[in-house]
């Protein structure tokens, strides 16, 4: 339908004002991170950095040990995501394409764990990690969060659409079950794997609670943990903090821009965060 010009103007005005409100906070952080320390704390604040400087970005890496935290976060995010894709697609495949005793109980069990927020079991999780000797190790933030009910459920729903005849034909040709999973199912599941990969990247990169429960050694901090620790310090070095915030946002921004298409669709099909 064609909108009347007046309606159009109203819509664009409201949207523009709202968009400005959504854009400005991040923009202000980015601008501030590029200021010299004198400008940063000068009042009234300068709206534009002059001179423009990257000193805070350099300082973040040299002084704040930020390079280490960045590396830790990268390792955790990438390995947890690969693990998640592998085991969730395996479980989703089993639940979608085999008939076996206990399958519906397992599926209901997986889904009902969605109801248990990690927040309410953080203390026992801490005890379990300690008992297993995993406390204070990177494995503690890589392995446990990789088994997500959301992931298993999305995989299952997607793989239900794969025709059984395809698997039967492969079996006739002598393909084993693992072979079927690896060379038939995985290629078919590429779109949903992409969606899950994006979700997992975001969940792990942004995660605060798991590292907070599982890690105490500063050498193993992830970025989010390190940042929260910086804020707690007596005198906050805003210059480095702002620069670190900007650097931390960049990988998420890249993933967002590259996979935007998948994002909105993935959000629509799952509607979940967790």
């Amino acid at each position: 339908m064609e909108l009347r010009p007046l309606t159009k103007i109203t819509i664009y005005s409201i949207l523009s004002v709202a968009a400005l409100f959504w854009l400005l906070p991040v923009l202000w952080v980015v601008i501030s991170a590029l200021k010299t320390n004198t400008d940063l704390y000068s009042y009234p604040p300068k709206l534009w950095p002059d001179p423009l400087t990257f000193e805070h970005f350099k300082a973040a890496f040299s002084k704040g040990n930020f390079g280490l935290y960045f590396k830790n976060s990268t390792i955790v995010t990438l390995s947890s995501t690969i693990l998640l894709l592998l085991i969730n697609s395996m479980a989703g495949f089993a639940l979608a394409k085999y008939r076996f005793r206990g399958s519906s109980i397992i599926l209901i069990g997986f889904i009902s764990t969605l109801m248990i927020p990690i927040e309410v079991i953080m203390i026992p999780i801490f005890k379990v990690l300690s008992a297993l000797g995993m406390y204070n190790s990177m494995l503690a933030i890589i392995i446990p969060p990789a088994a997500t009910p959301t992931g298993v459920f999305l995989m299952r729903q997607y793989l239900l659409t794969v025709p059984d005849e395809l698997l039967e034909a492969a079996r006739m040709d002598g393909a084993g079950e693992w072979r079927i999973y690896w060379s038939i199912i995985l290629p078919i599941a590429k779109p949903i794997l992409a969606v899950l990969a994006i979700f997992s990247f975001m969940w792990r990169w942004d995660d605060f609670l798991w590292p907070l429960i599982a890690i105490s050694d500063p050498a193993k901090y992830t970025i989010q943990l390190a940042l929260s620790n910086f804020i707690g310090e007596y005198s906050v070095d805003w210059g480095s903090l702002l620069a670190m915030s900007v650097i931390t946002m960049i990988p998420v921004l890249i993933v967002f821009l590259v996979f935007q298409r998948y994002f909105v669709n993935g959000m629509i099909t799952s509607g979940m965060k967790g």
């Binding site: 709202a18 707690g232 805003w238 994002f263």
Partner: protein
């Protein structure tokens, strides 16, 4: 001939056996991790909640002692109350903002993708960064907001030091960071409404607000319920954002239930008591989820 047959049968039983074991093997890694890190901790938490336990000394059975203690703990209830008030303000706000933007962006307008991206983008940023970002804006001596107020002649406001404004700051930051997520869910719901409904309404001469009240809103009910419940559950789990923005202060003014449980459990080392509080939080969240499940039956997104 008979040899070939038996060979064939052997091959078949071998294949059936493989088919019987395969699904269990495929599901095993997930099941194992779920069992160890979700199921066992959940049961352990319930077990701890009936004990006095500091994590070091052997635990002592305490019956319902922790629960009785919680009932008498004023701070627990004021934390729950604060979380409830926060939820009661933040959920309708997020609902209205997300639906409003979704309605504007569901139309065929230019730059739709661009606007969607702008509103969705904060959803991708971690709560720690969201908290830091707004702290930089609300800050007393360096915040841009106080400067902008001074330009129009308003006295500086202690955004993070006054109880009222600290809560307002937390709410603004929450809406900013979560509205985009729910906007996408609403857009999906709006797109699912068949256009003939609107066309029929227009033929009947219905105006904008009437169409919204009698067509859009009723048909959007399942989506609305989902958004409402997800936002509510989110609100009861709020913690990292406040941790970064206000640190829970001034005083305990923005300390919500999860932060309180964390402090009791990890700072004060009262694991049994904190576990009992977690059980109570789970009952609250579980209650809302069950409610949502019942109300949304029959209507999927």
């Amino acid at each position: 001939m008979s040899g070939g047959q038996s060979l064939n049968r052997k091959k078949q039983t071998g294949q059936t056996r493989k088919l019987a074991i395969a699904p269990y093997l495929f599901i095993l890694p997930n099941l194992l991790i779920f069992g160890v890190f979700i199921v066992i901790p959940s049961l352990l938490g319930l077990y701890y909640s009936f004990h006095v336990y500091d994590g070091l000394n052997p635990m002592k059975f305490n019956g319902l002692g922790n629960y009785i203690k919680i009932i008498g703990d004023k701070e627990f209830w004021s934390t729950i109350g604060r979380t409830g008030i926060y939820a009661a303000i933040v959920v309708p706000l997020i609902y209205a903002v997300a639906l409003g933007i979704a309605m504007l962006l569901a139309r065929e307008i230019r730059m739709r993708g661009f606007f969607r991206a702008i509103f969705y983008w904060p959803t991708m940023i971690s709560f720690i960064i969201v908290g830091l970002t707004w702290k930089w804006i609300f800050g007393d001596s360096f915040g841009i907001l106080n400067h902008m107020l001074s330009v129009i002649g308003v006295e500086p406001v202690g955004f993070l030091t006054s109880p009222f404004w600290a809560n307002a700051a937390v709410i603004i930051a929450t809406v900013w960071s979560r509205a985009g997520f729910f906007m996408v869910i609403f857009i999906a719901g709006l797109q699912a409404i068949p256009t003939d409904y609107y066309e029929a309404a227009r033929l009947d001469g219905a105006t904008g607000i009437k169409v919204f009240r009698h067509i859009t809103l009723p048909l959007l009910k399942p989506t609305s319920l989902l958004v409402f419940m997800l936002a509510l559950i989110d609100a009861f789990k709020a913690f990292p954002l406040m941790f970064a923005l206000t640190g829970g202060g001034p005083g305990k003014e923005t300390t919500y239930i999860v932060q309180y449980i964390y402090e009791i459990g990890f700072t004060k080392q009262e694991l049994g008591l904190a576990s009992a509080m977690s059980v109570m939080l789970f009952v609250i969240i579980g209650g809302f989820s069950a409610l949502q499940f019942r109300m949304s039956k029959g209507g999927a997104v």
